[in-house]
């Protein structure tokens, strides 16, 4: 199993980082978050076709580059650092992983290459974002008809294709339909973090195509992949906050001294660095584990729980150490704060993931 990044991977991070630092500056993020669609389609096309990020983790057979969770993690980490606004997480990560794990060969062959080029934007419709164990209670499919409601779907407004996990008479199934299909209603949901667009999606007896079966076990695995990608996003954000905050304390003077010379701030920054280092190490390790199909069975939940707690801590300190300035709209810190708060509960709270860790550990003990 891989234990550190290869030189190629480090170089890849450089490429991603350079692209995003150029195309996802705070001023652009602010403009996009105020807009309805929430992303810049030109940047999205560059990201997909020129830089090829969207296809990174798909097998070559489906138009991808054949890389895996580690490279995807690098992308997600940099996207978190720059708060990239766009349907990458919804389409490439969420819908992509659901298809890869459970769709029929035919469905994969038809959908994944489209997602890989970015020409199709898909999203994954889950009726519950708290825990995989709760998915499939509200959305149900009976005889090719889909009914029910998913209150929070990422980027549904921007998607043309919905990949749906729905409850069946027994078990779960993977379904696909177009967003403009009859019986589908999509309504924007006001989001705490307006850099990630949300919508509710409801189905009234909508005609739907089944593209695969999903066992509970597979759903847990998909959840793990999503959590690890999200954890990368979060540690990227946390690192940005740590760095920018430490920089701020060096140039902000009060009482004739840079505030970074006050011991209580120094000690808190040291503690924060430690936490960020730990969350980062565990998150990277989680990607290495997924890539190798090895490691602790609970590593994804561990990464999600740690990344979430660390990101929130970094966000609180980032505002607190900036004082009143940090609470203003004009200062950028709140963009990350809101992303941190929203990510904390997306795909399960840290408490849920700690409990899940323990269950997975005890199952295999």
């Amino acid at each position: 199993m891989q234990t550190e990044y290869t030189e190629d991977q480090e170089a890849f991070r450089e490429v991603v980082s350079r692209f995003l630092s150029d195309k996802s500056q705070p001023a652009m993020v602010r403009e996009l978050m105020e807009s309805e669609e929430g992303f810049d389609s030109q940047v999205w096309q560059q990201l997909c076709s020129e830089v090829g990020l969207s296809a990174t983790h798909f097998p070559e057979a489906y138009g991808g580059f054949g890389f895996g969770p580690v490279e995807l993690g690098i992308i997600a980490e940099e996207m978190g650092r720059y708060i990239y606004c766009g349907p990458f997480f919804a389409s490439c990560v969420m819908a992509g992983y659901a298809l890869l794990a459970s769709a029929s060969e035919e469905a994969k062959a038809s959908l994944l290459p489209e997602i890989a080029t970015g020409s199709t934007i898909a999203t994954l419709v889950l009726d519950n974002l708290n825990s995989p164990a709760l998915v499939g209670e509200s959305l149900t499919a009976r005889e090719g008809r889909l009914s029910g409601n998913a209150p929070l779907v990422v980027d549904a407004q921007n998607a043309s294709t919905l990949i749906v996990i729905a409850g069946e008479a027994s078990g779960l199934g993977l379904y696909c339909l177009a967003t403009d299909a009859t019986g589908v209603q999509i309504a924007a949901v006001e989001a705490l973090d307006s850099t990630r667009k949300l919508a509710s999606v409801s189905f009234a007896n909508a005609d739907v195509r089944k593209i695969g079966d999903i066992s509970r076990n597979t759903l847990e695995q998909i959840w793990d992949y999503l959590c690890v990608a999200l954890a990368h996003e979060m540690i990227g954000g946390a690192q940005h906050l740590l760095e920018s905050t430490v920089d701020y304390t060096k140039v902000r003077y009060q009482f004739g001294r840079p505030i970074g010379s006050f011991q209580s701030l120094k000690h808190r920054c040291a503690d924060l660095l430690m936490e960020v280092e730990f969350a980062k190490a565990v998150t990277h390790h989680a990607a290495f584990c997924l890539a190798a199909g090895d490691g602790e069975p609970y590593v994804a939940s561990m990464a999600k729980a740690m990344a979430a707690d660390t990101y929130m801590k970094a966000a609180k300190e980032a505002i607190q150490m900036r004082g009143g300035i940090g609470f203003t709209w004009e200062e950028d810190t709140h963009l990350w704060y809101k992303r941190a708060k929203s990510s904390e509960v997306f795909l399960g709270t840290p408490a849920m993931h700690r409990e899940r860790m323990m269950s997975l550990m005890e199952e295999t003990a």
């Binding site: 929070l152 949901v189 705490l192 009060q254 940090g326 709209w329 509960v345 409990e355």
Partner: protein, 417 residues
């Protein structure tokens, strides 16, 4: 001191009100009568709209006003800080010119203290005041100025001497806001509200007679303002509305005044974490069944109870005249931060993924989302947690002070550009 008995006061107030109080007057007309009658601020000196009443005597008047639904003088926003400061530190000319229109509500005031470069370190301010041809010319920027966008006047601290230690070179001014050199811009916060303003002064003018307390004595005057601010619990308070079922023109206008005054503070309950919503929501969502959430709710309830009981105990000690140092203010402020943060944490656990939502369709009409993005303010506004901890450790625990890098002439102290 006024020697009237409490019974005599009761009689006289009621008689005066029977004679003068008319809910159908305009708010301003009524207040003119009230101020001139000397019943508006009876604890003030008789020379200036008062009656030299003790606090006990004044309380009788306030009680009767309250019982009869009598509308009081204007007290919203920073105007009360301005009034008390002028009364305490101004000269007779300033008192004569400024106090009456504050009480009647004709003039609205703002406070021009904080600067972008001096937040926790208020005395490190660098707005400049220069005496040119008998007038003070002001240049600099202020921030966090509630109500500045509709203020007629401001209480201002600015630096008049750069060659003395920082507290010694500050002077205190009364500035007219409606002049070309003063620009007020709203300042939006991360929760979307714009409760404050920034004020830019470019060659703004203050008349020589509007210097309070003498040149270089501004810090002492400002400390008077700040001590009133602490006593009043910060200007950032809600002032309630008209209580009871009273009718008449004066009430309508008073209600309107309060609505405008309260507007910047609508989110203040949210920045304190809305602990009141925790149990109802936990029960409604069923989150109260979750053992890990129960632990966190219990912690929150413990903190809150601890803070409120400790504050009550401190208050009792203060009243009993105990010499024991009771750090109620700073501890209470620090406690509010800790409680708000824990409340936000618990609200997050209760909402789970629903915490991704905001706006009127989200939990409690959006109040929970507002909690989540407003609590960072509680540990900053009105003195950061760090400043409170400094105060507690130095004044209560009498621990030694930090080493200082800001002694000597202000000119030589390192500061923000």
């Amino acid at each position: 001191m006024n020697e009237m008995s409490l019974d005599d006061i009761t009689g006289e107030v009621n008689a005066w009100l029977d004679e003068n109080w008319d809910p159908n007057l305009s708010l301003e007309d009524w207040r003119r009568i009230l101020v001139d009658g000397g019943w508006a601020t009876p604890h003030w000196p008789s020379q200036f709209f008062g009656r030299d009443f003790t606090l006990e005597q004044s309380a009788v008047v306030a009680r009767i006003f309250n019982e009869r639904g009598v509308v009081p003088v204007a007290q919203t926003g920073p105007r009360r800080l301005a009034a008390e400061t002028i009364l305490a530190m101004g000269n007779d000319d300033q008192k004569s010119r400024y106090l009456r229109p504050i009480l009647t509500g004709e003039h609205s005031w703002c406070q021009l203290f904080s600067e972008p470069g001096s937040g926790s370190d208020l005395a490190g301010l660098s707005t400049k005041a220069q005496l040119v041809d008998g007038r003070w010319i002001i240049n600099g920027q202020k921030v966090w100025n509630t109500s500045a966008h509709h203020a007629d006047y401001g209480i201002l601290v600015a630096r008049t001497d750069w060659d003395v230690p920082k507290h010694q070179g500050i002077s205190f001014f009364l500035i007219h806001m409606h002049q070309p050199g003063v620009e007020v811009r709203p300042l939006k916060q991360m929760n979307g509200h714009a409760s404050f303003n920034e004020v830019f002064m470019t060659d703004a003018v203050v008349a020589a007679e509007d210097l309070v307390g003498g040149e270089g004595n501004g810090w002492a005057v400002a400390k008077t303002t700040l001590s009133y601010e602490r006593r009043l619990g910060g200007v950032g308070r809600s002032f309630g509305g008209v209580q009871g079922d009273w009718r008449g023109r004066v009430y309508q206008e008073y209600e309107k005044e309060l609505t405008i005054a309260n507007e910047p503070y609508t989110w203040y309950p949210q920045r304190q974490g809305r602990v009141d919503l925790v149990l109802p929501r936990a029960r409604e969502t069923g989150a109260i069944q979750d053992p890990a959430t129960r632990q966190e709710i219990a912690r929150l309830i413990c903190m809150q109870k601890g803070a409120s009981l400790a504050s009550a105990a401190a208050e009792a000690k203060r009243k009993s005249g105990s010499n024991e140092l009771v750090p109620a203010g700073s501890i209470g402020k620090l406690a509010a931060s800790v409680i708000a943060r824990q409340a936000a944490h618990v609200h997050t656990l209760i909402s789970s993924a629903d915490a991704m939502r905001s706006g009127p369709d989200s939990a409690e009409n959006g109040l929970v989302a507002e909690v989540l993005i407003s609590v960072p303010a509680i540990s900053i506004a009105g003195g950061t947690d760090e400043i409170q901890r400094n105060i507690i450790s130095e004044r209560v625990l009498t621990m030694p002070k930090e080493m200082r890098a800001d002694t000597g002439p202000f000119r030589d102290i390192k500061r923000n550009e």
